[in-house]
Symmetry: C2
Subunit: 225 residues, 2 copies
């Protein structure tokens, strides 16, 4: 369902070049649960942004459902981003002056619905935040913002979940509840890719990709799963 | 050095009241290394903001170095915040359009220095980011932003370090390096309070305070340290 060939991405800052992605090729099947690990700065977020159709590589190809993403028309790309992919951002990216309920409702409004308060409320309940529906992002704790971001990614019932460090601000118990939620959804067919620094999380994924300096250096199966 | 008595803090959102801090009393001696743990939403950041003189409690008292913080004059409070306390924010709070070098230099400029590029560079080197000096925050990975925030907290050589989840976005190895840095500084006398969800981090602190629902329910010593 996700296939990349020789993805390359460089950034230039002043006269130094950062080789964020170096010839990255991977294939992910529908229904897989994959962890992406690696040191800070190894290119994980850059890779996720390309897979999530939020950024373009400098070279190399990315096929989603057999279609070359770089050849997709603008409105088809928007459709993919809104309906097929749920994205949990590493820095949450919530909209400041609206409530968490409204933040979670937004992706459904983008699909054309006029109102989706009930669905948004259910998504927030799934991450234990029904009691924080009316709070704006600056009225939430760090871990609560992270969970609103997770609820927002799931509310459209996407077919692919891309979660960039979804438990970094959560205590062990709450993080476990989130991981259990992801596992249940994966069993029902949600293709799941989780960037994580937490060995507890990567050990729960069937497959683990390890990155260093913009390259995938390891692709292993967790035998226990 | 830090002494709070019956700190209380409530937030009102609509017609619901959140009891973020409930009668919190604690005493921390100079040179201690203390971890603060607890579930998401238990009041840790709220407590740190009061200790860091960034917020006021609704009731209760807070003495820093024997002085009642609520009675301090504005300029004395500013002095304390700029010179005595280093704060690593849970959401980093870097200034967007300036480089990481300039971000780290800023606290020293606030103390009256005209320029502090050398000190800022050294602080960035301590967290492994000399190669990212010229990057602006949006040109950094999540873990790099977190480390710039740590460098900024340490550049003024504070006497108290308040770190709110300083390793949440770091891989195990980089997080270990940061913890080792904190440990070295603590041995030289830096009073250190670390909010953390990571048992690896709290196990490295001599003392662990555990919070639930705005209260401190546990105050234990780590025997191995
Ligand atoms: N817009 C940009 N301009 C310049 N350099 C960038 C930019 N975005 C990212 N980088 C650099 O590219 C490298 C990879 O960044 P990326 O965000 O993908 O890392 P990461 O693996 O997600 O790290 P972390 O675990 O810290 O979140 C980093 O070293 C970063 O400094
Ligand atoms: N400005 C605010 N208005 C209303 N409620 C708030 C506000 N700030 C925090 N809260 C609430 O107070 C509670 C405690 O927040 P706090 O940020 O101290 O938690 P925390 O222990 O740091 O959590 P985390 O581990 O998720 O960062 C949370 O439930 C949060 O929703
Ligand atoms: Mg990242
Ligand atoms: Mg917090």
């Amino acid at each position: 369902i996700i296939e990349t060939v020789n993805l390359d991405k460089k950034y230039t800052v002043g006269d130094s070049v950062v080789h964020a992605l170096d010839s990255v090729s991977l294939g992910i099947e529908e229904g897989e649960m994959v962890a992406v690990t690696g040191p800070s700065g190894s290119g994980k977020t850059t890779l996720m942004n390309i897979i999530g159709c939020l950024a373009q590589p400098d070279s190399g190809s990315y096929k989603l459902n057999g279609q070359d993403v770089s050849r997709m028309a603008k409105d088809q790309l928007a459709e993919v981003r809104n309906r097929q992919i749920g994205f949990v951002f590493q820095s949450f990216s919530l909209i400041p002056r609206i409530s968490s309920l409204e933040n979670v409702e937004l992706p459904l409004l983008y699909t054309g619905k006029l109102s989706a308060k009930a669905e948004a409320r259910e998504a927030l309940a799934q991450v234990g935040l029904e009691g924080r529906m009316n709070h704006e992002p600056n009225q939430l704790s760090g871990g609560e913002r992270q969970r609103v971001s997770i609820a927002r990614a799931l509310v459209t019932h996407p077919s692919i979940l891309l979660a960039d460090e979804p438990t970094g601000n959560l205590d062990t118990k709450t993080g476990e509840e989130v991981l259990e939620l992801f596992t249940q959804l994966n069993r029902k067919g949600l293709t799941t890719i989780i960037v994580t620094h937490d060995p507890e999380v990567s050990s729960r994924c069937k497959r683990v990709l390890r990155m260093i300096d913009g390259r995938i250096i390891d692709d292993t199966l967790n035998s226990s799963n």
